[in-house]
Structure formats: structure tokens, C-alpha cells
């Protein structure tokens, strides 16, 4: 959804700028086959990250649906403060995930920037998707990895 200063300028502009600097393709307001719009889609090679900036936990189920329909590899729900992130996580736990869903990360803006920086330096368009994935999992900064 189109949001205000916090949503657009602080969160999405910054992530988009960083993603482009890292060599990825970034597109705002990408339409999904089901008719929804994803705030930001970052693509590098075959890896596709759907980024949704959320100030509340009300729309997380919708975010997940959009990410599934867009066949995103990962869904990043980016929040301004940890409190909202916790709330979003609780909201996600309540969502019934019957179909195959992407890996979901709930991150504050700082964490999202950190992850973007850590991951994208390891991606390469010359590598195949499994090789790129291997790059991420072997990276010591990502040893914790996402929760399934």
C-alpha cells in the first residue's frame, strides 16, 4: 500500500537504494497475478525478495498471500521498531499456511539493511540459484538463518 513518510521515504526508498547499489533490480509497487501490489520487489538472478513495509500487524496475512502469488523466494516484512516486529510475528503465527509459502523474515529497518548488505554482496548473476543459496547459508553472518 502507498504510505506516508515513514513507509515510503524512510523504509522503502532506503532499501531500494541499497538494493540497487548492491547490483540488484528493485521495483516499487509490483502488481501480483491476484491483483495486489507488493511494496518493493528486489530481484537478483532467480532470487526474488518481496519487501513489505508495515507499521502495524493488520495486513500480514495479505502480505503473505501476495508474496505467494508473486512466487517470491523470500518475504521481508520490514517494521520501524522491534515492538511492531514482534506484533507482526504473532500475527504471522496465526496465519494458516496450507500452501507452499516463501521464507518469511520479520525485520526492523536496521536489520533489513544489515541483511541486505550481508546477502547481496554474495549474490552473483553468474551463479545458479542453488549456488547463490549456498553462498548465503555458508556466510558466517547468516549462521542463525531464517526460521522455517
Amino acid at each position: 500500500m502507498n504510505g506516508g513518510f515513514l513507509h515510503e521515504v524512510v523504509t522503502l526508498d532506503r532499501l531500494e537504494s541499497l538494493a540497487r547499489d548492491a547490483g540488484a533490480d528493485a521495483a516499487r509497487q509490483v502488481r501480483t497475478p491476484t491483483g495486489g501490489y507488493i511494496d518493493l520487489v528486489i530481484t537478483i538472478g532467480t532470487h526474488r525478495i518481496a519487501v513489505e513495509a508495515e507499521l502495524t500487524s493488520k495486513r500480514v496475512a495479505n502480505d503473505l498471500e501476495k508474496a505467494v502469488s508473486a512466487e517470491a523466494t523470500e518475504l521481508w516484512v520490514v517494521t520501524p521498531v522491534p515492538r511492531t516486529a514482534r506484533s507482526v510475528k504473532r500475527g504471522l503465527n496465526r496465519v494458516n499456511r496450507n500452501c507452499k509459502t516463501p521464507v518469511v523474515f520479520v525485520l526492523t529497518l536496521g536489520r533489513a539493511i544489515q541483511r541486505l548488505t550481508n546477502c547481496f554482496s554474495l549474490f552473483s548473476g553468474s551463479l545458479t540459484p542453488p549456488e547463490n543459496k549456498k553462498q548465503i547459508t555458508n556466510n558466517p553472518q547468516n549462521t542463525k538463518g531464517p526460521k522455517p
Partner: protein, 570 residues
Amino acid sequence: MKPKIPPSVEELIYAQQHGLLEDLEGQAVMRLIDAGISDKFAQGLVTDRVRRHATAQAFAGPFATTRKLRTGKIILGLDLKGRQLRIPLQYFNGHTLVVSGSGGGKTVQARWFVLQVAQHLKGLWLFDLRKKEFAILKPLLARVGVELIVLPGRSLKLNPLQVPEAVDPTDWATRIADVLVTVLQLPQRAGKLIQTTILLMYRDFGVLKGGDSYPTLFDLRERIAADTKANAQARQAVIDSLDPVLLSIGSVLRWRRGWTADTLASHHIVFELGGLAETDKDLILNTLVLGVFASRIARNVSNARMNLWICCDEAGRLVSASSQTGGISDLIALVRGTGVGLYLATQSADLSPIVLSNTAIKFLGRCGSARDYDTIGGAMGLTAEQRHYLTQTLVPGMFAGQVGEGAWRRPFLFRIPEYDLRPPTPNSIGSGLGRLPGPQAREPDDPFADVAVEEAVVFRDWYPGIAASVTTRSTPTPEPATSSPSLCEAELRFLNAVIDHPGQPSGAYPPIAGIGAQRAQTIRQRLVQLGYLREHRVQTGGRGRAAIVLEPLEAVHAILDESDSQGAKT
């Protein structure tokens, strides 16, 4: 050995004490007895009256059944037999104290008196210190031709440093310095600093030479803050105490020339101060009451007939013995004799001795504590039997009273008759503002057309830390209310940095704008307060505290364009 008094003499004394021989027949009997003619017929008349009165008294309880209090414009209420008890209006000039617990009928009684008093007086001030109880009387008083003006506390235009009519500025500086020390609970040394500063400002503003543009409390605060040679503790005490008041009721106090107490004293006004802090209430109340008093004293008004009645509902804090910051305790002894009557209603008998000493009329309603009955009962001269009787007899709306004025001093019981009040209409609040002196909406026949107020425009957006550069008399600038406050060079640079680098943590802007971190913090807070920026908390880092991200609001562009155009002109 004490000689035994004959029963006939005892009866005579009883009859005299209870005023049973004051009619024509009684006076004839007294003349006979004085002449030494005490026959059975004359004695029988006395005995008959005494027995009837004693019998009636036995049924009435320990309180005197009075034949007095039958004349006067004001109906106190009804006695136990349903007869009206009346007093002259001028009895209220001796001040009234009402002590009654919550629900005891204080407000009902106050409204009852207001309805009777209003039409006979030139001025009536009703202070709603806690609730909003008096606005409801507006339509009722309108029926008798009295316009009751309801003023919310923050709509007032006052300047405590404005010298009242006919008062010498030097005298007023001393008085108002004392008030500020009392109200703001300042040390004595701060009082001296305040007094000196006020006098210096009066000189700079030309007040001592008859000028009518006065310094404000904002000027006082800034001048003391800038006086680095002043005693540091006293200076800091003044600043610490004045800042909350100026922030809270700055709109009330930022007038170089506001409404004078004399002007207000000729109107019927409800001051709704319920939403204000206690210090703010004290300051407003003292400014008004002291202003009226000082002006009347300066005009040699002494032992005048009452023409202003001030009623304070829920005045517990003002008259409390434990909290002497209100200042009413000091004023109550002074305003007597200047034609100002005070009516103070409180819930408990935690009363300053000065208040007890200076209230001629006392009413005691239903209380919840024996201490209240004892304290106020002691001041009214109630016997132990009467106090015990009251604890079991008083109901809401019933009071034990004592009228200090006049010849009748015995306590009596009375109740306020039931009366209906229609609910106030929506336009009853604030509709009276047009009658008071103000810059707008002056009608040609308005008695205040010649009375003008002058706003200290420089303090319109004042906040602590950014001093307005005003130390001398300013000429009134007719600045429109919609004009934007001026920003300094550093503030404009900060705004430009925020516009050029949006979404950054606030700590990123000081080096961009070329200002220090501490000053940047002050500037940021001011710009947020002025509505140019909005703060958001965002976790921009991987760990640690959330950063403050600044969002420029629409007003920023207008003021930056304005400053650019001014820069281009120069």
C-alpha cells in the same frame, strides 16, 4: 457565696436574651419593670412568653428558634418551621465561609445565593475552581436582565505586571513580587530579584513615566535568565517556577495590556479554571483580586458598600491551613472594607486561622468527620450538645448558620429550598466574550470600545531555551495571527538539511547544518513544537536504541520559500 436570683428575674433575663420583649407590648413591660412596677400582670406576660418559647425550643432541639433574620433582600433559606430567614445583602460584605462534605449542598447553596445577589450588584465573579457549576445559571439570570459571561480559564487576557488603575507602579512592583513569591513558592531572595527586575523593566518600558505598555511575565523570565550577575539559586528558582506557568497559560499571560480587574469588576463573570494547574489558578485569582483591591485602596475606597461579590466553589486549597500558597488567606483580611465580599466553600475544616477570623458569616453543612464539626463548630460558638445534634441531624441542603453582622449572633438551623435549574443551552458558554475588551468584534455602543488590549507578539510561540530578543519596550506590531514565526539562520540551515537528506536519523543533521549537537537538539524540539517537523522512532541500526527520524511537514516548504525570497531581495 453567690446570691440566689429570683425566678422572675431569671425569666426576665431569658426573655431579654432571646429577644422576646422587643415588640411594643414587650417594651411596655420592660418600662414597667424599669420603673419598679413589677406586678403580677406584667410578670405574667413575661412568664407566658418565656414558657411558650422554652416549650418551642424543647421541640426544636438545641438551636435557637429565632424571631430575627426576618428582613433583608437575601433569603438564606427556610427554618425548621418553613419560615423564610432573611439577611440584608450587605451582610455578605463581611465574607462567608461554608464547610460541608461532598454532596452536602454547598454548590446548591452557592447557586441559590448567586441567583439572589446577582441582580443587586454591579460585579459578580464566580470561580469554578474544580468543576463547571455556575454556567447553568446563565439563562436564569438572563430572565432578570443579568448577563452572565462564562470565561474558560485559557481565554482570559491578563498581565499580572500591568499596574491597576490609580496605583503607583513602584507600589505594585512590591505587591506583585510578593504574590509571585507566594504563588510560585519561591525563596525570599528570589522575591528581591523579582522586585528589582520588575522595577527595572518598568523603567525600560516607560511605565514609571506613565507608559501603558507593560512588561509581561515572559519579559520577566527572559530578563532574569539573562542576568548572569544575579544570585544563581534565586535566578534558577524563578526560571524553574515560571516556565511551567508560561507554558501552561502563556496565551493568558502574553498581553502587555490585558483586561484590567476594574473592567472585569463591573461584570457578572464565571471563571472556569477547572482545567488549569493549581499554580495557574492561584496566579489568576491573585492577579484579579489583588488588582481590584489595590486599585480601590489607591482611590481611597474605605468601608464602601459591597458592589463586587466573589464566590469560590471548592476553595479548599485556597483556604487550607496546610497549604498557604493560594494567597487568599492574606487577601481576605485586606479586601474587607473595599466593597468586595468573598464567599468560600470548602469540603473540610482544614482552614487557615485567618480565614476563620475574617469570615463573619459561617455555614456548616453535613460533614463526614467529627473534626470538621469540632473546628467549625468551635469557631461558630456551638456547644457540645449542638455539635452532637448536628452530627445526627444535618442532611444534604440543611446547614447550621451564624451571621456575624447585625445584632443576632446565635447559631440557627436552616435549609435551602428546592428549586429547578434548566440545563444550559449550547451557546451559553463563551458567548459573552464579545462584551469584553478585545481586538475584534467591537460594537459602536460597546462600553469597552475605548479599552484596547496589546499582545506581546514576540512571545506567541515562546518556549524555554529560545529567548525572544525583547528587553525594551516594543511597539505594537499588527501581525496577523496566521503569520509564521521567524526562524533564525541555524534553524533554517537545519530545515534545509532535513529537506535535502530525508529519512536520516536526527544525529546526521548537525554536521550537515554546521551546528553543534546540543544546539541541534534544542532547534529540533522547537521546530517540532512549531509544526515544521514530525519525529518518528525508527530502528535504523541493527541494535541499540531507536533513532529519531525527522519528517518535514508542509509548512517547511512555505517558510523556506519565504526565506529564499527574502534572501534574494537582500
